[in-house]
Symmetry: D2
Subunit: 426 residues, 4 copies
């Protein structure tokens, strides 16, 4: 499958309706088994309650589609406009982000009813066909909801990790393969001018455009992700105690937060465990290291005598590989060791863990935001963050592509984040 | 009923068992209608989730009674010892107070099961009779749970007040009497040496003892509590904008918190409303002002050319009045206007609102804490707080008495707190 | 000398002029040897620069005397009214307290010129005689400046203690007597009604009035202050690691601030040193412990099985002792061991270290603040602080008396603060 | 003058000695007229005291040259190694940055003596000639001191701006030309592959290397800097109140800091003034806007329908212009209006104000830090900051060049920072 060839669903009413329905259904599947309280509590400012994710993604359709394109539509509850706007200044004032966890009402049940109300109003429109601009907003809304599906999982993991009881969201995935010690190699490139960024009919976020030419230096990428076993080596070698390995802001964070291992690792009588969506589990040595910040990834690369890839080195390599991997639909919700018989040049390029790159998240040459509130989707976050590529075990299958840019601040690590090394070539 | 004559229930096994059972039942009645999320979220560091109150009061019995006096007792869950200890250093480490709201598990249902487990183990012991020291601890545990019943209500009000939807916990109480404008008078006292503090057989907290002699100055107490109508006068007269009326720390708080009215007041197009346990309601002008801090009460008294009573002026007057009033059992959960035909010299002395006094909360002469963890109950809080007297509309009936000392920091105002004025007499 | 008999200087023009001149001169003597920078930097929010103390005490005379009583007086610099007001809301806005250290201009030299300007305007008025109310304000201004002389020293010690070079303000005092181990005894009292507070003609601050009757319980006071040697015992016995000895707020402070000894103590290879105004010096075992907070004093007393005295127990005992001791005029600026041949019943009652009492700083019965800005002098600080009595080695001689009330928050310890134990008697 | 042709002074002992001596002398000239206190106080964490700059630049020579290359050299004061290390982890622990203002000792005079001591030891070595590596470190040390000369000025301006007296560091520069309204034009470029970064013999910082090829898009640069007059237009048009113009982090900063104009602007009765090193002065409408953050520069560009240049667009244009402009040696210490008869294509490219670029400060392809402590010079700051180019009115003449990269966080604005607009070309 060539992701650049994929056609936008906005031009295909039946396809869009199915895409919408599947996604909405998938969100419900994700909250199955959660208690009302599980879905309500906010465990840190960066995270949001599951209930809020369910409501906000619904608000998106109500605000941007139904308000404009459904004549006579009655909002489910006027006050939800205030409660469930995330960050759209153009839409109006909104409930402060750090206070999302105060909303015990509406209950989870009431939010599910809100979803039904909006779905019931939107679905007929989808079936009869919407104007193109509206259809494109619906398609955006579905991709938006997919993003929140991933956040719902990572935020839930964070919440459960605050609980000394270490609850499990799902049972341990059966059949996780034991893995031999991995033997990474290198895939080299001569560099030169390449085209990057999105073009063509398929869906994309605005920050993936415009497609443009960029100049790569000669380099090589590791065939494998860095593993937990390798990370243990870094820890043993004093990685978290040697300031020379760290960016200055990173070292300050290490000291302020007393980091001595990736997030969710705990040392129980000398053995590492890791909090996962299946509760606290023994560390899997050959699985990719996960829940490391950019600061940690960067320090590790320096320790290893290597560096992180740029986002365009990654993209150039990824363009020719198919988008397959351990995504959320596997139900494993945990990075897996690379298969011993991986065929692609770069193993685990997609899925398992988002890969930190050395590239700050900034605008592409000629980038323009869309007019209106939707223009706030990506553009206003273009400072201080770094790009990650490739998706994770919590990303919905079909959501990512070679040009897809995720981004987080360098100290953040509650997402499923890992790294692949790169090196300069003469 | 003379509270000083009341006999301790510890000496009466059947009475103690009934007292225990009623109280445990009452806690369940209070959480009726709460969702799992309502019972889980913590809205500020000072507040605790309803679920936590239910569990902590249960832990008290498990830790202090069953652990020592029930041979072969198996803890319901070993980990609850860590989760539900409040502040007893002698018991061991505990879940940090500001993180109580992270505990979506155990669920409300599981906490109710924990309560049943402990009740089932304790009730037979109560019926057959416990050693006196243990019986006294049970009695303490019941009074302790009553205190948490009040906190459960005030914490829930705080939580619901954070929600723009302004949920109601209970419907508006029927039959709230309209009230004529109140006409306060004064009840004078020549002062002199009086005995204060608790003595006799009835239950008491340690901080109410020893009974001792103290010297009162000549003074008078207002027959009435300060009302909302009077408080509006204070606001209109610039009470919240004139630094000369305020203690220095109080003025700093006014500015930092931007106080311009009691907590939970909101100005809607020129008219005040108040968030209550029945949701947001119009202000009742003749009801006692409520949710004011010591700083506000003190500034009001200065503005009025009066002062707050000392705790012993209050206690000396209260000793001869019966302990009746608008307590939680009325189901009104809101301070009521004084009855026009009140008979007692000091109206609303008990119930409705806790009355701030001018007295810092310190030890009585000769005060000794009990040995062991229970000694941490009150003694370690004796700095920086002020004494309040008389109970409120959220206090369980029968819980307070003339010698009862409640205490909070001067900036706190989420309890049902108000004031009665006093003045010096020559 | 009976402090209660001392006549107010306000009634004696020549005496007042001399009193004023001596005090003004004494302030200059204190800053001798300080660099412009030493006099300018503010080392914490609670402290003020020496230059600010010099200017603010001058502002007091300019604002309250010259402005009202010197016809045609031209302010030295209009802007100083804003810069050097401390906390008088009635006077108007003022430079924020935590920003006092930003004022590198006016320089120390310019502030000294400001002092000369004000002195030159005020001195003639003093010699010809001022109206009584104004004369009383001058007298208040001198006592006010004496208070700031002490603060100037304690703030300077704090500043120098932040400097790894540990500068010395003055050389080590010669002739510090070696001292035998002290043998404290007890002075008992039957209690009963006593009169406390200030009366008579002598100067006093408003918070020392009205003189009134209070009831003491039977008790005893230690003849000696707690010494450094005794405090080392407390440390060795785990005093700073046992939460059961501490008030709850105190224990939180111990943990947050990582206290393990009095302020300014440092452990150098197993031996304690103490930062003093003569630089870092070996600890003097028989000298009174100093720079301990109320929290520490209270914990020590609990550890010792005793308690702190009330302020009135102290005052009743002090009323019959003469006000002599190690004050600032000794030039030692450091608490000294008690003389082996001390004659007074309570040794070191005055001078050396302020003695923490168990009494919260609140208003005496019938207390009224003065009208106008001067009314802000003391009254607005009456919450959350505890009373200290007796003066210290940094207090100007003649400044304190039996009724004198000093007050600080329970966590503060940068003043010369220590303690004397008390106990209940049957 | 072609900066790429400039020869490193490390290869020319006499030249290096002269370069060193001139720079050391220049630092002394900068602190002439400062009081000891002016040179000691630290006005914010980001700023350092003048005295500290004088000492730290001296420490650099002592630590990196004298320690290794002057046999038998005795440190002036062993403790200065701790006091005046800035951020070199490899050298050892150091006095915490936010505490630099606590050091009233050593005095300014003592620091000047420290400088003399080090100069006296180093100068003979320079005259006789040092090994090449050491000579290169001396050259680095001089450039390092030049950087601190600029910081000394910007930090002093910040300090004086905290003082309500608004002191002047230097008199107003005579002869500031009145200026006609400026008429900016555009200088276009077709883009394509260019070489950027430093090469050749001249001095450079490590972050300017390696020289490498990069791909420019077609674009144009404004001939002029944005002026104060234009910025007033932005303010009048609601620039500081429209969230759609701002990056999300920028908008949060605007609200938290209540920004409504550039730093140091004050509105006096409707007219803007600006705090400068000559005290508070009327705003000069045609002078370049100064003391704006990246967030503000970026919002302005968006408002204007343009964008900021990339650092390589700037460098490519700058490579062919001579390095002349309003630098610190003019003694004006304030950005000046562009001359009406400017000859260069891009006016005020060098000097006046640092120009914010759209480029995050990251490593060039193949960048390697030097081994040892000096490797901490630049590399560890490569996240979260943006590149500025061109130098300012506080930059020593001769210090900058076309490849020179300065960098600050996007919220910082106390440096002399402004902007030039760019636009895309088809």
């Amino acid at each position: 499958m060539d992701p650049e060839r994929k056609q936008s669903k906005a031009a295909d009413p039946a396809g869009l309706a199915r895409f919408f329905a599947d996604c909405r259904q998938q969100s419900l599947a994700l909250v199955k088994g959660l208690s009302d309280a599980d879905a309500t509590v906010q465990s840190m400012d960066d995270a949001s309650p599951a209930k809020w994710h369910l409501a906000h993604t619904t608000w998106f359709f109500e605000e941007f589609i139904l308000g404009a394109h459904a004549p006579g539509y009655q909002p489910h509850d006027e006050r939800f406009r205030y409660l469930f706007n995330s960050y759209y200044e153009a839409v109006g004032p909104r409930h402060p982000r750090p206070r999302r966890g105060m909303l015990t009402r509406p209950t989870l049940g009431e939010v599910l009813a809100y979803r039904e109300h909006v779905d019931a109003a939107l679905f007929p429109l989808l079936q009869t066909g919407l104007p193109e601009a509206a259809a494109q907003l619906v398609e955006l809304g579905v991709h938006h909801e997919q993003q929140h599906q991933e956040l719902l999982l990572t935020d839930l993991l964070h919440l459960f990790a605050q609980n000394p009881l270490r609850p499990a969201y799902r049972p341990v995935a059966a059949g996780t393969p034991l893995s031999a010690v991995q033997r990474p190699g290198w895939v080299a490139s001569d560099g030169g001018i390449v085209e990057v960024g999105h073009a063509g009919d398929g869906f994309n976020f605005d920050c993936e455009t415009p497609r443009h030419r960029t100049l790569l230096q000669p380099h090589a990428l590791s065939t494998h992700l860095v593993t937990n076993r390798e990370w243990c080596e870094f820890i043993r070698d004093g990685g978290y105690t040697d300031p020379r390995l760290w960016l200055s802001d990173g070292w300050r964070t290490v000291q302020a937060e007393q980091w001595n291992a990736p997030m969710y690792w705990e040392n129980r009588d000398g053995a590492w465990t890791q909090m996962t969506l299946a509760g606290e589990q023994p560390l899997a040595p050959e699985a990719p290291v996960c829940h490391v910040s950019f600061f940690e990834a960067d320090a590790y690369a320096r320790w290893a005598g290597k560096r992180l890839p740029t986002e365009f080195e990654w993209e150039a390599a990824a363009a020719s590989q198919s988008v397959t991997g351990n995504f959320a639909d596997s139900g494993k919700f945990r990075p897996q060791p690379a298969a011993d018989d991986a065929q692609a040049p770069l193993t685990q390029l997609y899925g398992d863990v988002w890969e930190w790159t050395a590239s700050p998240y900034i605008a592409y040459p000629g980038f323009r935001t869309a007019p209106g509130a939707v223009g706030e989707y990506n553009g206003k976050f273009m400072n201080g963050q770094f790009v990650l590529r490739g998706g994770s075990c919590a990303t919905p299958a079909g959501h990512v592509r070679a040009t897809y840019r995720n981004f987080f601040y360098p100290h953040q690590r509650w997402q499923f984040m890992g790294l692949r090394l790169a090196e300069d070539r003469p």
